[in-house]
């Protein structure tokens, strides 16, 4: 498995919290990250379709207020991939910290 792109990781992470519709994911990431990450809508749609094709997420219904908005949820495979990615980031961060400590 190749490392996931940053937007892909952020979307999987957001969906692991609770199922959401497309723009809701952008807002959730924006709010949780304290305005650090703001995904662009074109990127979001492309990543959602890729994730759906790979069975990492699935459509579980439509939004109650707007029938046009599909609600996505993370799958079991998606959760496994997310955990693996999280470990990879932790490993990377530990390495970065180690290098920084040495250089001071």
């Amino acid at each position: 498995m190749y490392p996931l792109s940053e937007p892909t990781f952020l979307i999987l992470l957001a969906l692991s919290d609770k199922p959401m519709h497309g723009y809701g994911i952008i807002k959730a990431i924006y709010d949780y990250s304290e305005q650090q990450y703001e995904l662009a809508p074109g990127t979001l749609y492309g990543v959602l379709k890729n994730l759906e094709k790979q069975n990492l997420i699935e459509v579980i219904g439509t939004d109650l207020d707007n029938r046009k908005k599909k609600v996505y949820a993370i799958t079991k495979i998606g959760k496994d991939v997310l955990i693996e990615e999280q470990r990879r980031y932790e490993k990377l961060l530990r390495y970065v910290q180690k290098v920084n400590e040495q250089s001071y």
Partner: protein
């Protein structure tokens, strides 16, 4: 209201965006457009003040149905983009925005539009090559010029899609010709020859097939050896990659 019509063809989405933005700077707002399947687009512009405050971005998506299109439009709208396409029949999607919000977060996701366009072009190439081949076989069996005419028309049309698919492959830094594509084509030859030989064994059209056995056996063997050759090449490449190690360092 001044309305202007323009028809143009672009080599890349970037060039098209640049052109649209230049027109916007001069107050020309794109109000509608229509794609033909061969890369040309008819644009309708109107003179509007607000054109000067915004910019355009192009995406390429093949929608499965109306629901997918509506979802895309809803996401873009909430993200501060105005989608100009009106139905799921558009695959090149031009959007206009007066906000600072981008359409793509990074260059990797921006190149996904080229990937999707490549996929669609190669699928179209397949369809047209397939129909041309069927018409060719029709001409061969029925000996009627109409079949040949159709075969030529479809073959000529497929050239556009083959060129587009190959060019996008280069842009995406993949090899010029997708080996998997060639392999599928070669399997097609194996299937074609194999079917004819099986038919003759089952006494269907036996005389015709045996009289033309050369035309069935040659593609069959080209297909068999060609696929073996590609497998061999791919195997060699995988082995080389494995010995050289992964591209991304494992930290």
């Amino acid at each position: 209201m001044t309305t202007k019509l323009l028809t143009k063809k672009f080599a890349s989405f970037e060039a098209e965006e640049k052109w649209l933005n230049a027109l916007a700077k001069n107050g020309w707002l794109l109000v509608s457009y229509r794609n033909d399947d061969f890369g040309k687009t008819d644009y309708t512009f109107e003179k509007h003040e607000r054109a000067m405050e915004g910019h355009y971005k192009i995406d390429f998506v093949t929608f499965k149905n109306r629901d997918d299109f509506d979802e895309y439009a809803a996401i873009l709208e909430e993200g501060g983009w105005e989608l100009l396409a009106k139905s799921e029949n558009y695959d090149k999607l031009i959007s206009f925005s007066t906000t600072a919000q981008r359409l793509f977060s990074d260059s990797a996701s921006a190149s996904m539009r080229d990937e999707r366009k490549q996929k669609k072009a190669s699928r179209n190439a397949w369809i047209f090559v397939g129909i041309a081949a069927l018409c060719g076989i029709g001409y061969w069996i029925f000996d009627n010029m109409a079949w040949l005419a159709f075969a030529i028309i479809y073959a000529a049309t497929s050239v556009h899609f083959i060129v587009t698919a190959c060019r996008l492959n280069v842009r995406l830094q993949k090899s010029f010709i997708d080996l998997r594509f060639v392999k599928k084509l070669l399997w097609g030859l194996v299937f074609f020859g194999g079917t004819a030989i099986t038919m003759s064994l089952l006494n269907i059209q036996r005389d015709f097939i045996q009289a033309n056995i050369f035309y069935f056996m040659v593609p069959f063997w080209i297909g068999v050896f060609g696929t073996r050759f590609i497998d061999y090449k791919e195997n060699k490449r995988t082995e080389r990659e494995m010995l050289q190690g992964e591209e991304t360092p494992n930290l």
